[in-house]
């Protein structure tokens, strides 16, 4: 499984696309947080917090994560290496989790440069260092939670098709539905179901963790979503095997 993980990460960086995806991510985030006027802009907000990043992330992940996950199975299917992979003495679960974990490592790599934003706030604070590190750490955990769910969805979608473009677009749409869709649905259905329906969505759970409040219910929600979609992926893989 370790080898599989390594191979997955290496192949991401072997292609130009990998760098491009991360570059675009960092560029857009940087522009929104430091240049464009708006709610996300840290400099004009006057507050010593990186809140903007955590508001922006669920949106920008909609593109970043499908771009990482789109090739997981789609690529293997297209080049015909999936059959080869399946003949190896590795369980389906190991294959799927290796791909998923590789995605999380890539996400971590993409997020590492954003620590510079935190440092900027740290340096510009009045007095310097006036940043709530606890809240920031909590919010970063939140980024991995929401990123994890997106990644699991992306992995699942990519197991359906051998076309990376389709995989990318469908993943982005499904992630969006999971992020916002349930909340929107909750506004049009009868009052008594509102609570439950909005609880299904990611946003409801992301809100508190992005402020630095870790609630076991939110963590369980994220973990169970991840496990669920990865399970669906293994079901898909098993089908290919037969």
């Amino acid at each position: 499984m370790g080898t599989l993980l390594q191979k997955e990460i290496a192949s991401f960086f072997n292609s130009f696309t990998g760098y491009l995806v991360i570059a675009v991510f960092l560029l857009i985030t940087g522009l929104f947080l430091f240049v464009f006027e708006g709610e996300m802009n840290i400099i004009t907000s006057g507050y010593a917090s990186v809140d903007g990043l955590f508001i922006l992330a669920p949106w920008i992940f909609l593109f970043l994560i499908p771009a990482i996950s789109m090739r997981f199975f789609a690529d293997e299917k297209k080049s015909g290496t999936l059959e080869l992979l399946l003949t190896l003495p590795i369980s389906d679960i190991s294959i799927v989790s290796a791909k998923f974990l590789a995605g999380i490592v890539l996400l971590a790599i993409a997020l590492t440069p954003t620590l510079l934003y935190v440092f900027t706030i740290y340096a510009l604070g009045s007095p310097p260092g006036n940043i709530d590190s606890g809240a920031t750490i909590g919010a970063y955990i939140g980024l991995f939670c929401i990123g994890g769910v997106y990644m699991a969805i992306g992995t699942w979608i990519s197991s359906f098709t051998d076309n990376q473009i389709i995989s990318f677009i469908v993943s982005a749409v499904v992630c969006f539905v999971f992020f916002m869709g349930f909340d929107s649905l909750a506004t049009v259905i009868p009052q008594s179901f509102k609570g439950i329906v909005s609880q299904l969505g990611i946003q409801e759970h992301y809100n508190s963790i992005s402020r630095g409040v870790i609630d076991t219910r939110d963590i369980i929600y994220f973990l169970s979503c991840i496990v669920f979609f990865l399970y669906l992926t293994t079901l898909n893989i098993r089908k290919t095997r037969k």
Binding site: A23, L116, G212, I220
Partner: protein, 576 residues
């Protein structure tokens, strides 16, 4: 068949996911990683929300097109209300309303604001540049209407929020948010308001002088201004009686009434100077004489366990006044000078108490000092506020005046330390008139009255200064306008806003009324986290370039290294 089996698996998986999340929702834990626990509600708030009977609706008008700094405020308000909803369930309703959306058809936006103002919300003026770069003014409503099916109270988020910038103001008001919310909810749900009486027949502070204090109390309590005889007529009606700077002597009958008020379960706040200083004459002449006041209350206070001394407190930690430093005959030039007669009181570190927790200094004016004595009953005594480590008392009669500013007092001048000025007494008292005849005429005794000679647990706060909750009064032509309690007329040289006085007063009243949970919520503190504005303006370009450029350069560099490694590994022929 395979498809059927797969569907079965998926359904089971969904069921398991729902089951796990359902179990998690029953038994859960919450960890607030913020340093000041800002997203954790106070235990008493949680308790209140859990026991909510009525349905409370929060209509938030801070919505729509808002300036950036207010967006944060809105987010935080939303977060906190959602937290309420999480605990209070269906008993809490939240509604965000954009005032602009209420202005349809004939109902112009101005009318909407007018209507909201009639409800008690205060609009906040913001200045913005429009597309042509012209400054335009518009209003937003940083307020909430908190309502039940019968009543409503306005909640102004920016009310009394002090600060240099709108960001600071917003932080300060967010700090108060939980308190304001819980206070409004209590106001709506309280079944019987407590009654508070200001006594008026010993030349106490008049209505204008305690205007701000009265207004503050009226948000939560019924406040009356009554005579001592009226207090006697309905001796159990009032929960708290306030003696605000009495100047004339108490008759034996009045002392008896106050004694009996306490015996019947009443609580007291006594703010009494034992010395008189004609402050107004100091406006005209350089010194005046401090004289002892004859309040005739020593035996009553003694019975409570308190003695107020005939002294004036001087403190090195004090407010400033403008002092003319130019030589005689030339144009006056004023500089701030320490006015030792206006000490800034602080709680003692060894004796912390909820009333004084997290409050700012409390300004007193010509205060006396006091001592605690044995008292008559089982009483616990606690010093709430005291002078600083460098203080001194002088006896009266004695001249007081600006001559004290002529020389800088040396270290030995302030020869006393931590002199108590405010004391809280709690416990059950025995009556001063236990084995004595009642000094009161038969015809003034109300028919329902029976004397009691010992009290249940009551609370008494004694302040040996009459001015702590007095507000200044500004004279504008023929009009007099009461200023807020935190305002000091020499602000221009003193540069301090005495929110401590207000907090201390409200906390005291809340405490003696038994509303302790309000003061623990009020004293909560949030750390202000702002960016250094001047640096942000000066170094904006630099940080923009660093934050966009550096990550990209890093990425290109690592890409280059990877390429190089790969080339070395696989030779030139490899094509990715």
């Amino acid at each position: 068949m395979a498809l059927f089996k797969r569907t079965q698996h998926i359904i089971i998986a969904i069921a398991i996911v729902f089951a796990i999340n359902w179990i998690a929702s029953i038994q859960y834990g919450r960890l607030d990683l913020t340093e000041d626990n800002r997203y954790t509600l106070h235990a008493s708030t949680v308790d209140f929300l859990e026991n909510l009977q009525d349905t409370i609706r929060f209509s938030v008008y801070l919505h729509g097109d808002l300036p950036l700094s207010f967006n944060k405020m809105k987010r935080e308000v939303n977060d906190m209300l959602n937290e309420y909803k999480r605990i209070g369930g269906a008993h809490v309703q939240i509604l965000f309303i954009d005032p602009a959306s209420l202005a349809i058809g004939k109902n112009s936006i101005q009318n909407t604001y007018k209507r909201l103002m009639q409800y008690g919300l205060k609009p906040y003026t913001i200045q913005e540049e429009d597309e042509q770069g012209k400054l335009v003014q518009r209003y937003i409503i940083p307020g909430i209407i908190v309502s039940t099916s019968e009543k409503y109270v306005p909640l102004n988020l920016l009310a009394n929020a002090l600060g240099n910038s709108s960001e600071e103001q917003i932080y300060n008001s967010l700090q108060q948010l939980e308190y304001l919310c819980i206070k409004s909810m209590k106001q709506l749900t309280v079944k019987k308001r407590k009654n508070i009486a200001f006594l008026t027949d010993h030349k106490e502070l008049d209505f204008q002088q305690v205007f701000d204090a009265t207004m503050l109390l009226m948000e939560q309590y019924n406040v009356d201004r009554i005579t001592t005889q009226q207090l006697f007529d309905s001796i159990t009606k009032y929960d708290v009686a306030i003696l605000a700077k009495p100047l004339t002597a108490f008759s034996e009958a009045h002392k008896y009434i106050i004694d009996q008020f306490v015996m019947h379960g009443g609580n007291l706040i006594i703010a009494a100077d034992n010395i008189g200083v004609n402050v107004d004459s100091l406006q005209r002449v350089s010194h005046t004489t401090a004289y002892p006041l004859q309040l005739n209350c020593s035996d009553l206070f003694f019975n409570f366990g308190i003695r107020i001394h005939n002294t004036i407190l001087l403190d090195n930690q004090c407010a400033s006044i403008p002092f003319n430093v130019s030589p005689l005959g030339s144009a006056p030039r004023f500089e701030p000078a320490p006015w030792y007669y206006y000490p800034l009181l602080k709680p003692l570190k060894q004796q912390p108490h909820a009333i004084t927790h997290n409050i700012d200094v409390v300004k007193a004016e010509f205060a006396s000092t006091l001592d605690t004595l044995e008292g008559n009953g089982t009483i616990t005594k606690q010093v709430l506020l005291a002078s600083s480590a460098y203080s001194r008392t002088i006896g009266v009669p004695n001249p007081v005046g600006f001559s004290i500013l002529d020389n800088i007092p040396d270290k030995n001048f302030f020869n006393a330390y931590y002199l108590p000025v405010v004391v809280l007494l709690e416990g059950s008292y025995n009556s001063l008139y236990k084995n004595r005849p009642a000094p009161i005429e038969q015809n003034s005794i109300p028919p329902t009255f029976t004397p009691k000679f010992s009290s249940d647990s009551t609370k008494i706060i004694v302040i040996s200064d009459g001015d702590i909750f007095k507000n200044e009064i500004e004279v504008r032509g023929n009009d007099t306008v009461p200023k807020p309690m935190h305002y000091y007329k020499y602000f221009a040289v003193d540069r301090r806003v005495y929110t401590g006085n207000k907090d201390f007063f409200l906390n005291s009243v809340n405490y003696v009324c038994g509303d302790e949970e309000l003061l623990t919520v009020r004293s909560r503190e949030m750390k202000i986290r702002l960016l250094n504005k001047t640096r942000v303006v000066q170094e904006r370009k630099y940080w923009q370039i660093v934050n966009i450029g550096a990550p990209l350069i890093l990425l290109i560099l690592s890409a280059g290294i990877m390429m190089w490694i790969r080339k070395r590994k696989f030779g030139k022929t490899y094509v990715g």
